[in-house]
């Protein structure tokens, strides 16, 4: 066997890193470096064998010569490149300060190697952060930026991109003239340009003040113009980074993006980048998703630029990398979040089954992204009305995710389930028949508030227009005690959904109102407590609608509501809670409260006149009369209805 082959086994090479002969060490370093470049498995093998601390020892040895520094720095950079465990091991080995130290080595090749290696480390989130409010750190970064070495200035930009987080740091960097220095880098090498764009994004993020200052008198046409120009660069990565930078500017300071006129340009750039192989193509859908998130106008622009079609086309490709797959699903999720035309096209392109399959993907992120995508697709009332999603093909894999090991996936799966639960057709029964309700109710008892909220939300939607049997089936599993405790949950958003659920439960047939009084009135007591004590507006509004629904029942129901909204004379009176709500500055709460009065004074009820008298004595009718010209039309006309009803019984005028 040739000696060289036997000597290249990882164990032997590792041994040789500690050789007293510097020539042997150098040869071993070079060999290891060559073996691990782009080879994750090899990297892990050497990490396991303890090679990293030995390489760190070489770079930290003052007696090492330039070639040893170059090779050890390059090997460390390679270990850190793209592998988190590699970064961790390199940092743990203590190599980081040594790499920083040799940045000031006399030999330019050593400096280059060190800067490149450090750049690899700074690509990872695990890299140490510099504090730009600390003078020493600031001086260090400025010294790097002022370097004539291309790799060093690029490193400086990478460190800024990685470390700059707070508004204070952004300002400090700007005050030191860093933005201008970065601007100069935009005309440098490709790497300098890309690192500079990354750093710009970090310094501008959420800082409209700084953007305005930098943009200057012409709203950035001159200062930011070069970044806009890079949208046309021939390198996809540069185009992507320029897009990210401009998106950051637009999100912090929309007027500047308008002024630069790039809002419309960005969409086609990003859509085109979807076609790119490698990192830019992987990142493009995430950037697109981030850009159009919540912005209907941009979603429409993206639709016009065929974004939905392209995303679906890539979705169809087999063997899509998990990261890219996740990005595609997220981008589709954002694009279909508001516009029915996007959802229609999604359906026409027949990719629903791919998204459904993605619910079973190995990657947690892909499973979540598939749920988000389905959540957007199921936002269509038109499709829900046709019962398009109420079938086992979609529901079964979604329900399986309610037992996913990841809580975030469970929460994400409840999104589309909540929407599908709205289903306006009798097909709704499938939720009970397939045991879905049971699974959702299980999560409504979770200690974690996120699944609890989404589970209650799903139940609320499921209860919407449910028939008697559906309501019964849900309540048997849920129990009135759990429902009462959810109404008084520690989380306000859960209280609101629980009250919405109760509202739906009591709606429909008049018999449904009895649920409020079952088990010694657990529900009405919990609701009344919230209506009286809650400080959150949405909770008060939902609570008032529940009372209003009860007040649409028979005499006993109405009387029960009266007892909760008007304090008994024995308690010394005071302003009734309904009066306080009628005086709310929020028209929705005034509307809900007025409906309650309309129902309590409804002419078909026999004891309406007694109730009107009580309401009048408590000052509620007086309050209603003062609202006859309420600025909200809905309130105004319901107030008139209430007063007409009172007049019918001859009491209103008093």
């Amino acid at each position: 066997m040739p000696a060289s082959a036997a000597g290249n086994r990882p164990e032997e090479l590792c041994e040789r890193l500690a050789s007293v002969d510097s020539g042997v060490r150098l040869k071993a370093l070079r060999e290891i470096k060559n073996q691990i470049i782009g080879n994750r498995t090899k990297k892990l093998t050497y990490i396991k064998l303890g090679a990293v601390p030995r390489v760190a020892a070489i770079v930290g040895d003052d007696d090492s010569d330039a070639p040893l520094f170059v090779q050890s720095a390059a090997a460390l950079g390679s270990f850190a490149c793209g592998v988190d465990i590699g970064v961790k091991t390199v940092l743990k080995s203590g190599a980081f300060p040594h790499l920083i130290r040799i940045l000031s080595n006399q030999d330019e090749k050593v400096v280059d190697a060190s800067a490149r290696s450090l750049r690899m480390i700074f690509q990872s989130k695990l890299a140490p952060k510099y504090d730009f409010l600390n003078r020493k750190d600031m001086d260090f970064i400025l010294s790097l930026l002022n370097s004539v070495n291309e790799n060093v200035t690029e490193l400086a930009a990478s460190i800024i991109a990685h470390s700059c987080q707070t508004g204070g740091e952004q300002k400090a960097l700007s005050d030191e003239g860093v933005l201008q220095k970065l601007m100069n880098l935009l005309t440098g090498s490709i790497n300098q340009r890309d690192a500079s764009l990354d750093a710009f994004a970090a310094i501008f993020r959420n800082n409209s003040e700084l953007i305005s200052k930098f943009a200057g008198f012409d709203n950035g046409r001159k200062t930011l113009g070069p970044v806009v120009e890079l949208l046309k660069d021939k390198y996809p990565r540069t185009r992507l980074l320029a897009s990210v930078c401009l998106i950051v500017i637009g999100q912090a300071s929309p007027c500047h993006l308008e002024e630069l006129g790039v809002k419309t340009k960005l969409i086609p750039v990003l859509v085109e980048l979807l076609e790119e192989p490698g990192q830019p193509g992987d990142d493009a859908p995430f950037t697109l998703a981030n850009f159009v998130a919540g912005k209907e106008e941009l979603q429409k622009l993206a639709f016009d630029a065929n974004a939905v079609e392209k995303l679906c086309k890539f979705l169809r490709k087999t063997a899509v990398q998990p990261k890219r797959f996740e990005g595609l699903l997220l981008a589709l999720s954002e694009l279909c979040s508001k516009l029915e035309i996007c959802r229609n096209q999604f359906h026409q392109l027949q990719v629903l089954h791919i998204v459904i399959d993605a619910l079973k993907h190995d990657s947690t992120e892909v499973r979540s992204a598939a749920c988000y995508c389905l959540r957007s697709i199921t936002r269509s009332v038109k499709s829900l009305s046709a019962g398009d999603f109420t079938n086992e093909t979609i529901l079964v894999p979604l329900v399986q995710l309610l037992r996913d090991p990841s809580t975030s996936v469970q929460v994400a799966a409840l999104g589309p389930l909540s929407n599908i639960a709205v289903d306006f057709t009798p097909r709704k029964a499938i939720f009970v028949q397939c045991g879905i309700v049971k699974e959702i109710i299980q999560l409504s008892k979770s200690m974690d508030s996120a699944p609890r909220l989404n589970a209650v939300w799903a139940l609320r939607n499921l209860m919407f227009l449910s028939d008697k049997m559906g309501k019964e089936s849900i309540l048997i599993e849920l129990t009135l005690s759990t429902l009462a405790s959810l109404i008084c949950d520690s989380e306000v958003s859960i209280q609101e959904q629980a009250l919405g659920l109760v509202c739906n439960l009591l709606d429909g047939s008049i018999d449904s109102i009895e649920y409020a009084f079952a088990e010694d009135g657990k529900i009405i007591k919990a609701v009344a407590r919230q209506v009286k004590n809650a400080t959150n507006l949405e909770v008060c509004i939902q609570g008032m609608y529940v009372l209003s629904n009860i007040a649409a029942g028979n005499e006993l129901h109405k009387e029960a509501v009266m007892d909760h909204i008007i304090p008994p004379v024995s308690s010394g009176g005071g302003t009734p809670i309904i009066t306080s709500h009628l005086r709310s500055s929020d028209s929705r709460l005034r509307t809900a409260s007025t409906w309650c009065i309309v129902n309590l004074t409804h002419p078909t009820s026999t004891d309406a006149s007694d109730r009107i008298a009580r309401l009048r004595n408590a000052g509620v009718i007086g309050q209603i009369k003062s609202m006859v010209n309420d600025p909200c039309l809905d309130v105004k006309f319901r107030v008139r209805t209430a007063l007409e009803q009172c007049t019918t019984f001859g009491n209103a005028a008093s």
């Binding site: 199921t378 038109k382 009305s385 306006f424 739906n504 209003s548 409906w595 039309l633 006309f637 319901r638």
Partner: protein
């Protein structure tokens, strides 16, 4: 509500959206889950030929001037069961839609002719004749004008012998929650009148339900 087929050529267009800002008025009687019941006079000549109609609101998005729901026609001749259709509505809020339909074979003259059937429209007529009402502020007007267009049959096939080619000019009244409408389809009897009243399903008052999409 579907009408008998006379001519079933499908027609639809994308509506132009007007960007003049206005706040669409909210009304709880037009919120999701609310039901209405009444009649549609199928023939304007034979007053006695009326179909019983139930309507349920299923979706409401005032920001986009959008409303949708189902319409159930109960005593449809030749149909074994009540016929349910899904409709989508355009709220004339000036922001998203004006009084001019601009599609579904309705000319501005057809529009004015139909809107004018509503008494509540008369104060608006002169301005609508000028620009479709683009300069009107309807945010405080006690009536909501809409166009309802049936999109598909929910419980029967398209071969049921009925057509949903036309659309309704609709007017909702804040004061009593009533809905009036006129069906427009150049191939059907003109001015078929839809009259609906808010219902409360045997309750002594009004009841509300709601859902929230995620």
């Amino acid at each position: 509500m579907p009408v008998r087929v006379l001519d079933s050529s499908p027609r639809s267009q994308i509506s132009g959206v007007n960007q003049i800002p206005a706040i669409p008025p909210a009304c709880t009687l037009l919120s999701v889950g609310q039901t209405f019941a009444g009649t549609q006079n199928v023939s304007s000549l034979q007053k006695d030929e009326a179909w019983r109609v139930n309507v349920r609101i299923q979706g409401c998005d005032l920001e986009h001037g959008y409303l949708c729901g189902t319409m159930e026609a109960l005593n449809v001749p030749f149909a074994d069961t009540p016929v349910v259709t899904f409709w989508e509505g355009e709220i004339v809020d000036i922001k998203n839609y004006t009084f001019f339909t601009g599609k579904w074979e309705a000319t501005p003259e057809d529009d004015v002719k139909h809107w004018s059937k509503f008494q509540s429209f008369s104060p608006l007529l002169s301005q609508v004749e000028v620009d479709g009402g683009k300069s009107l502020d309807l945010s405080n007007y006690p009536f909501i004008f809409m166009r309802w267009k049936e999109q598909y049959f929910v419980n029967v096939g398209t071969d049921c012998g009925l057509t949903i080619a036309g659309f309704y000019y609709v007017c909702f009244s804040f004061s009593d929650g009533s809905i009036n409408g006129f069906y427009y389809d150049p191939n059907s009897s003109p001015f078929q009148k839809l009259e609906l009243k808010s219902t409360n399903e045997g309750r002594s008052g009004f009841s509300f339900s709601s859902y929230q999409l995620q």
